[in-house]
């Protein structure tokens, strides 16, 4: 039995067993490896994607639950790094090892989709589920603010 859904605006079909987490379908079946496996328990945020616009830990989301829904991954922000968050991330050279950054970007994208002028406390609340073992938090915060400013002007 297969599950139909949308990924980054395109129709997709998953053939994996229906209990398979969305994360592994995205990575191993669809070949979009930007979304990362970190903990398998919704503790680190490395696997964050959007499901119908909501930031979601794909490691804890069975593929059956996204039938008919819209899934967005880091690859959907833009391939040419033109999304304001990608521009800001590059401007501040946020990533170090980079492994958590897809998840950071997707959490930030979900925040800015509903709040284009987040306060420090709002950024903390939206981003604290995303661990960064390299500790890039100072730069993540600065880049989120910069991206928000860009989006307000656009």
């Amino acid at each position: 039995m297969s599950v139909d859904f949308q990924i980054n605006g395109k129709a997709a079909k998953a053939n994996a067993e229906t209990d398979t987490p969305l994360l592994w379908v995205i990575r191993d079946e669809l070949g979009l490896t930007g979304t990362k496996f970190g903990c398998g328990a919704a503790l680190c945020g490395a696997c964050t994607v959007h499901v119908d616009g909501q930031p979601t830990r794909s490691c804890q989301t069975p593929i059956s639950s996204v039938a008919g829904k819209k899934v967005a991954t880091v690859e959907g922000l833009s391939k040419d790094n033109s999304h304001p968050l990608q521009v800001a991330w590059i401007k501040h050279d946020v990533p170090q090892c980079g492994y958590c950054q897809s998840g950071q970007l997707m959490s930030a994208a979900a925040l800015l989709a509903k709040n284009k002028n987040p306060s420090d406390a709002e950024i903390d609340a939206a981003m604290s589920a995303n661990l960064c073992r390299c500790g890039t938090y100072n730069r993540v915060r600065a880049a989120v603010k910069d991206a928000a400013a860009m989006m307000r002007k656009a």
Binding site: G38, L85, P95
Partner: protein, 716 residues
């Protein structure tokens, strides 16, 4: 593990210490003497390739694990080759003798070595290429070399003569390579010292960067492993009947460290792994506990063999006897896990007597040697390709997971990507060893320290990893043990105690325990003397300008001595490590639950000549968060030989809402480069501990300083 250890030991050579360090001297048979091995037609030296289309490629001998070497390394080449950084493509170098890190004697990314090792090496490599291109142009155009210059990927001669580097590359290969080309005067640097943008950022913001976990080989299958809950334990027997019933499962294979499931997808392998029924022979490790580790180490301080860290000065016993006041304290630094966000993984293709290994490693040469040893292959038949590392911090110096991937691939005769679960990763680390430091000092009537007796007992990682003989000083246990203060009578003792825990190098290694103890103790001495901790330290730094300067800069920038918000306090700490001089001031308060909140950390660092100050700042910011977690939040504990932390709930690194503001002052300097990937990790612990002691009036001498630890200290 025994196979890895054996294969490492058979290649081991330890030799004289370099600036207090240890040469690990790891060599793999077959790679020695290939320093200038023949490569492609356009390989002027081992580092730089120029293609006909003018593409310049640097083979980086250091792995990119976040520290920015894929930017700092090409910056050194770009400087001497007179090209824009953007013109250089960076790839990872294979295992080869020429790529050995000269500071460690092995091809290792670690020890905050990259810039220190490469600063001259890669400038020479870049200058060699520049010189042979000029020689080639002189030959082609029959003009004097002095009339030719190489700039921005073009070689220019008189009368409008010009050529791309690529056009000249093939001819340049036949030109003599100058061994000692003239290097640029640092005054004329255009690239080195600038805040160049990282070359790896674009790929890391759109999902295209390839980490080990992303590797895909044709025909590849997926594996995960179940290891004995007690590290070192072995499989007695196992029943895989349920596991084999899971759709997609291809095979279940026993390897040295446990049982691996191989399947068409990772999730299938993981589901099946959870259904394995395994009987373990837990071995001697089952007796390990927090108590056995701590009390064993404490006992060693009384009865163990004492090794001299440095020649004692003066007469410590006499000076302590004659002191107006004697201060003593014991500090405990717990075990820690590395917990990089990318779980251990590697991809291996072992077929027909050859092995291809692709993945994240800090130790290419070790990977080659260990897999060759474990599988009975010749090292030259083992190819190692390095991807980006999703964090290293010392964990990826180890080779266990690489050997496992190779063993599984060999067993199923297919390319295999092995990915551990987070739980396997957390409970099968090579842990930072516990350290117990005991320090005793004598003060004269004015409060000045006249004698210090420092003792530390901990476990030797170098004995385990590189076969350092017993009862030999392990320099990686003595880091930051002898601070810069002028004290007349000193003695520094090291006691090595093997607790039985599998230990590993963890970011900043023994700087962590030794500077936590020394700099906490310095505050305790200042208190006993009735002096301000900053002024007290400064009074002991006459003739130590680099120490004194960073201490002053950090204090000034932080506003030391000026009023702070109610309920806030400052703490200060100072260290030299990896050739870097650093002071930090932490500003803390207590939260609603009695937890320590860090508001701001001010850092002053003098690391000599910097290649990329922006990366330097990033590494300091990173180290603060990494060290702060170990200071306040997480540790590794054991019961019945089992590590009790299994995921990021029981082992909680710092999160965004806890991240302090980090203010950084960098000293401009032309001294030799120091390392910056690690030192701030260690210094932040005593800076925070001292601030907490000032704030609460109670000194916590055992990390981590949790709300619970503070309560217990207050009650004691």
């Amino acid at each position: 593990m025994s196979q890895i250890t054996t294969s490492r030991r058979s290649f081991l050579q330890t030799s004289a210490a370099l600036s207090g360090g240890l040469m690990l001297g790891f060599t793999v048979p077959g790679t020695r003497g290939q320093a200038m091995a023949a490569g492609t037609a356009h390989e002027v030296n081992a580092w730089v390739h120029i293609a006909n289309d003018n593409t310049i490629t640097l083979l980086s001998h250091f792995s990119e694990m976040g520290q920015g070497v894929h930017t700092s390394m090409p910056m050194l080449i770009a400087e001497e080759l007179n090209v824009d950084l953007k013109q250089i493509k960076v790839v990872n170098a294979p295992p080869k003798a020429v790529y050995v890190n000269s500071l460690l004697g092995a091809q290792i990314t670690g020890g905050s070595c990259s810039v220190r090792d490469a600063f001259t090496k890669l400038r020479v490599a870049g200058a060699q290429v520049r010189e042979v291109l000029i020689t080639a142009a002189a030959a082609r155009w029959s003009v004097d070399r002095d009339l030719i210059k190489a700039e921005k990927g073009m070689v220019y001669g008189p009368k409008g003569l010009k050529s791309t580097y690529g056009d000249l590359a093939e001819l340049a290969m036949s030109m003599p390579v100058p061994e000692k080309p003239t290097l640029k005067d640092p005054k004329h640097f255009k690239v080195v010292g600038t805040r160049a943008k990282r070359t790896d950022t674009p790929a890391k913001v759109n999902g295209s960067a390839e980490f080990g976990i992303d590797v895909k080989l044709p025909g590849m299958v997926y594996a995960t492993v179940a290891q004995c809950p007690v590290i070192g334990g072995k499989v007695k027997s196992f029943d895989a009947s349920k596991a084999k019933g899971v759709a997609g499962v291809l095979d279940v294979v026993q390897i040295n460290d446990g049982v691996a499931v191989v399947a068409n997808s990772w999730w299938q392998a993981k589901k099946a792994r959870d259904l394995l029924s395994i009987q373990w022979d837990e071995g001697a490790g089952a007796a390990l506990s927090d108590t056995s580790v701590l009390e064993g180490t404490r006992q060693a301080l009384k009865t163990g063999k004492v090794l001299e860290i440095i020649k004692p000065t003066g007469d410590v016993t006499g000076a302590l006897k004659g002191a107006a006041k004697v201060v003593e304290a014991e500090y405990i630094t717990p075990m820690q896990a590395h917990a990089p966000l990318e779980p251990m993984n590697f991809t291996a293709d072992v077929r027909d007597g050859k092995a291809l290994l692709v993945g994240p490693t800090q130790f290419q040469q070790g990977a080659q040697g260990a897999v060759a040893g474990a599988l009975g292959l010749k090292p030259e038949d083992v190819t190692v390709k390095t991807t980006f590392l999703g964090g290293g911090f010392g964990r990826r110096l180890e080779l266990d997971f690489i050997v496992q991937a190779a063993q599984i691939s060999k067993a199923v005769n297919k390319p295999v990507k092995l990915v551990w679960t987070r739980e396997e990763d957390m409970t099968h680390d090579f842990y930072r060893p516990l350290g117990v430091n005991q320090i005793k000092a004598g003060l004269d009537a004015s409060g000045k320290p006249v004698a210090v007796h420092f003792k530390v007992a901990s476990q030797s990682i170098t004995q385990r990893a590189f076969g350092l003989p017993k009862d030999t000083l392990d320099p990686f246990m003595a880091e930051a043990s002898t601070p810069g203060y002028n004290i007349a009578n000193t003695q520094h003792d090291l006691i090595i105690h093997d607790t039985g825990v599998r230990v590993g190098y963890w970011r900043a290694v023994s700087h962590n325990m030794n500077v936590f103890a020394n700099e906490s103790f310095m505050d305790e001495l200042a208190e006993a003397a009735g002096k301000d901790p900053y002024a007290y330290r400064m009074s002991l730094l006459e003739g130590k300008p680099r120490f004194a300067n960073v201490l002053k800069l950090a204090a000034e920038k932080a506003g030391w001595g000026k009023p702070l918000p109610k309920g806030h306090a400052h703490g200060i700490a100072l260290m030299e490590g990896y050739g870097t001089y650093m002071a930090q001031v932490a500003e803390v308060s207590l939260g609603d639950q009695g937890e320590v909140k860090v508001h701001r950390v001010t850092v002053a660092a003098d690391l000599g000549h910097m290649v990329n100050p922006d990366t330097v700042e990033a590494q300091i910011q990173s180290s603060i968060m990494f060290g702060m977690g170990a200071t306040l939040k997480h540790q590794v504990t054991m019961a019945n030989g089992r590590v009790q932390q299994t995921n990021y709930d029981s082992f909680q690194p710092v999160r965004m809402f806890e991240a302090p503001k980090v203010d950084i002052v960098l000293v401009k300097s032309s001294e030799a480069p120091g390392g910056i990937g690690e030192p701030a990790t260690a210094v932040v612990a005593p800076a925070i501990a001292n601030a907490v002691a000032t704030l609460t009036g109670k000194r916590v001498r055992r990390l981590p300083i949790t709300a619970e630890a503070l309560k217990q200290t207050a009650a004691a």
